[in-house]
Symmetry: C2
Subunit: 629 residues, 2 copies
């Protein structure tokens, strides 16, 4: 018996709809296609991508398949998304199709709260695939080679073909009489000749993927993207395994300093991680690693140098100069990345020792270089950066918050994982929310900022950061009991064992407050310094954009309250997602963007905080919290 | 007390001489220089090269130092050569200086019987060293990088600097305040921009070396050369370790065919051997491997492909086309060669599947492309080649003799090593000479040819190759007793145990004769075929050049007698040494020559023996021995 299926065909408008009878054991995708309703199915309806996903708006949502879980992830599944190619409803349902591919390509690149002001992206990855029939050498006397036949068929010269392609060439040319698929990479605007990066037996023209990698000091994020559509097929993130050798940049540089063995350790660790990311992204998406022909990597200068095996010792010593700054394109085999051996690995350019390719990527993704209005982008992380400017001028500085906002060096701190206290409100008591609403295990950065904001509002902490144990008598009774002196240490008890299912006590110590003050001071003084150098008052700032993993979770109200960011009207402050990763993705799908990265990098003026005569005054000021009133 | 030292100052003429008083504890070199007598000392008189060597002609020769033994080797030491920088005589002596460097550069390149017609070689290796003082980045605000400072000092762009150079750049720039030595490679005639291949702390401008490698099917020869002088500092040769997987090309291709594991085995074996050669050449010469900035490799097409890890499967199948033919320049690190990581490895171009870069090198070294007269170069080896032509046209074919002339597949065959019978005369008996006049162990190629020539002259063997046991009664008594029938097998007993200290019998079997006939037939028919295709009669041939390890030991009279080469007047036949290796050395010291290799390769017309309708007739004819009269 057929089941009634209603499809809302416009992703933005619930009005246009079609209702059809769904034959038994037929997927939503199949029925829709039979009725000429357009649902994109990039992978051909094999559960290998997310393009055909629909959202259930009425009726019982069928339980997710394994493919739903792999492709869509827990969040989308919980929100009622399913892959229409995998979904066979057994009762009447109404679903809405997802935005079509071109829109989504943009939407994914501008994911989350949106990369403000970003227009459509031209999809020109530089990677081209063509199926060609190559004649084999036939003549014994006037012999020519396989390669010459290939080059003639393509209109390239033999030197445009890499060694790894040559190694498999004879077999590829002879394995499939129908032809071979040749993948080439051509930088835009004829800046170099076309490079042959792969020759594969048969027709693989539909398989064209790339990887965008953002190597942070603490976190590494890799995103697998279908190059022609810009569709994101998989995203893998994990801790940077170099972190065991030093949490922040300076300690990691110190570890590598003048010790080639340690440098090699850091180098091989990150290469190893990227190869695990490639494996995992391929596993999630069903893409073969040999179909990844372009990789774009961003990261701060130290991460960039360590990835290349370049000694970063002197990046840690004044004047903190990088070893190199130019944009680099390498074959993947040189970095031992397990994608197509001749895949192009593109590293974006650097600006300075502590303003790296990640900052360039943020500038690119936020389009800060484009408008007339002055905007500020703050990438909050262990090694954050601040960029300020407009189409007229751009300044950048590093804002090394350290790992405190990632929960490190905090008594009961933890990363933003299951069980972390991520939201706190303080009234006559302290109330917490945990990630996944799980039993609280510790407190993460956004929780810390909320907590401090609340404690400032209630007078538990004064503007210098002191926990006012002496003034606790003025507090409401419940709150009062949380403010204690234990031995020499001032503490605020956030949770006692048993409260909100806490298994152990969670406290905020005076030292914790100082650590957060150092972190927020670094960021706030970075912003203040750029405003100072550029003579930009708070009133002149059109927008402040919060980027980075942490930046997107912090409460704007709390960030304003503790003075992490300057006192702008709330509506001028926006989250812009992981802008560094977005910038890498932009350069992956668009050579125009990658070329633009070079001109943007060249335009950025680096401001060294430590070398500026006014820095000390600004930093001390930024360490304190805004005074009441 | 001073010692009297007489120096014969002209290496070719014992007349011009100077006598000086040698102060105590003063080296010959030092005294000579003090007296303005010119003795070249490339290494600065540190015993690191052989340029200052002198030959003792009167007086007691002082015992050799370790440096004498390392640099000069046993033979030269025994002949009375010493390094003048190391030598402090204690009594009156007379020494003759060695030929000065420029002469010797040429002499070494044209070593042995001389590469006929070769003019002076322009020494332009493309490798340039310069000591530069690079300013370090100083500014914290407008930061630039180490690399940009270097590029500015050199007038190159950052992309001209390889990754391996970048990795060590910061330390090199800061280690020596006096400056760094930058090594660059520039192809001739502005065909590419200057490439930075090394940056070293301090002044190493005097250290500039290269390696010429000839990879034969059976033997690999590597020669270490000082690039500015062309001086040969060390030469290492050994068996090709791939030979255990197949003695000739076809069996080696069959081993690799369609089996990536076996291909990898062959690839890694040759890379491993080259690295051992590099180590040994450096040990012999005192040169550091990191000072080797250029490597030129020649070899036949199969050896070339295996070195690059390119599948040679289809080189073994009609139409025997190579995978690639163009000249290639790679960084050494791509082939894992343990010289300077960014050293340029230059592979000469190929002509066809069985006429490789070694043939191109032979053409180059013999200057066969230069004159108006028709000449023939025969590179005799397991996979030999024949080249015929003049400045007007050039033809080449392969002449796969197989390993018989290297002693393989011969009952008592052996390579030309200590104890091998290398010379044979036959009159009323058989008389042998062994290499090193050691006890005979077996017979090598040149001995075999001599033996066959003698047996043909005395009628033991007829023109079809048959050992005429039936006609032995007509022979002189001693010879007669050596011609025997054992079971079904016709044999000639070359040595009985005890004869000429032989510990075991050495015989020539009927099968051995057939093997040599096949080998000589391959070479003779190759020559005949090229003469046929080019319509060149024996009378028109101005010269026939014998190249290759074996080619230089064979007796010309015997080679003529058995018909290995066409019946030309003896004075038209010359030995030209290991011409393939010489060609590689030419391209090492001269980019002009390397560029010329490409045009020569393009001019060579390949003649496929098997595909030619007249081949069978010519080959059958060439298998036989010349008929008497």
């Amino acid at each position: 018996m057929a089941v009634l299926l209603t499809i809302l065909t416009d992703p933005r408008d619930p009005t246009p709809r079609r209702t059809l009878a769904l034959p038994p054991n037929t997927s939503i995708l199949k029925s829709a296609h039979a009725a000429s309703i357009e649902i994109t199915a990039t992978c051909g309806g094999r559960g290998r991508c997310t393009s055909c996903r629909v959202k259930f708006v009425a009726g019982t949502i069928p339980p997710p398949t394994i493919m739903d879980e792999i492709q869509l992830g827990n969040d989308l599944v919980r929100e009622g998304y399913r892959l229409s190619c995998q979904c066979v409803p057994s009762e009447a349902v109404t679903v809405q199709v997802a935005p079509p591919l071109e829109e989504r390509a943009f939407q994914i690149l501008g994911a989350g709260p949106g990369v403000v002001g970003m227009g459509r992206v031209t999809l020109d990855s530089g990677i081209r695939k063509q199926v060609v029939k190559v004649s084999l050498p036939r003549e014994e006397h006037h012999q020519i080679s396989d390669l010459e036949q290939l080059a003639a068929a393509l209109g390239v010269t033999p030197t445009d073909v890499g060694l790894a392609v040559l190694q498999g060439l004879p077999a590829a040319l002879r394995d499939d009489p129908a032809g071979v698929t040749v993948t080439t990479f051509a930088p835009p605007g004829g800046r170099g000749s076309e490079r042959v990066v792969a020759v594969e037996r048969g027709d693989t023209a539909g398989m064209k993927f790339g990887l965008a990698v953002d190597i942070g000091t603490t976190t590494v994020v890799s995103t697998l993207i279908e190059l022609d559509s810009g569709e994101q097929l998989a995203s893998v993130s994990s801790l940077n395994p170099q972190a065991v050798f030093g949490g922040d940049l300076m300690s990691r540089i110190a570890f590598a300093q003048f010790d080639p063995g340690n440098l090699r350790k850091l180098h091989t660790r990150i290469i190893g991680l990227l190869n695990r990311h490639i494996e995992e992204a391929c596993r999630q998406s069903g893409v073969l690693a040999k179909w990844i022909y372009k990789v774009v990597v961003v990261g701060n200068t130290c991460m960039h140098h360590l990835l290349l095996g370049i000694d970063p010792s002197f990046v840690g010593l004044a004047p903190y100069a990088p070893v190199m700054r130019h944009a680099l394109v390498l074959p993947a085999r040189e970095l031992f990345l397990k994608v197509a051996p001749e895949a192009r690995v593109c590293l974006l350019p650097l600006v300075a020792g502590f303003v790296g390719a990640d900052a360039v990527a943020v500038a690119l993704a936020t389009r800060i270089y484009e408008g007339a209005a002055i905007r500020i982008a703050v990438d909050i992380g262990t090694n954050g950066e601040v960029i300020l400017g407009s189409r007229d001028r751009l300044w950048a500085c590093s804002a090394p918050a350290g790992p405190a906002l990632e929960g490190a060096q905090i008594r009961h701190g933890m990363r933003g994982a299951l069980g972390a206290i991520d939201r706190v409100t303080v009234d006559d008591d302290i109330h917490v929310h945990t990630i996944g609403e799980a039993d609280p295990l510790g407190i993460c950065g956004s929780g810390l900022i909320d907590l401090l904001a609340g404690l400032l509002d209630t007078g538990v902490i004064d503007w210098t950061g002191l926990i006012r144990v002496e003034a606790r008598e003025a507090l409401p009774p419940k709150l009062r009991e949380r403010v204690v002196m234990r031995g020499e240490e001032r503490q605020v008890i956030v949770l006692r064992p048993g409260e909100a299912s806490a298994r152990q006590e969670v406290v905020l110590t005076q030292d914790d407050v100082r650590q957060v003050q150092l972190a927020k001071g670094a960021i706030a003084s970075g912003i203040a310094m750029l405003q100072h150098v550029a003579s930009v008052s708070d009133e002149t700032v059109a927008e402040l954009m919060l980027a980075g993993g942490f930046g997107n979770y912090v409460s704007i109200a709390s960030a304003l309250r503790i003075g992490l960011i300057p006192p702008l009207p709330k509506e001028k402050i926006r989250y812009v997602g992981n802008a560094a990763s977005l910038g890498a993705q932009l350069c992956l799908v668009s050579e125009t963007e990658r070329q633009r990265a070079e001109s943007v990098a060249a335009r950025i003026e680096h401001v060294s905080l430590a070398a500026h005569p006014d820095f000390e005054r600004i930093f001390v000021d930024a360490m304190n919290f805004p005074r009441p009133g």
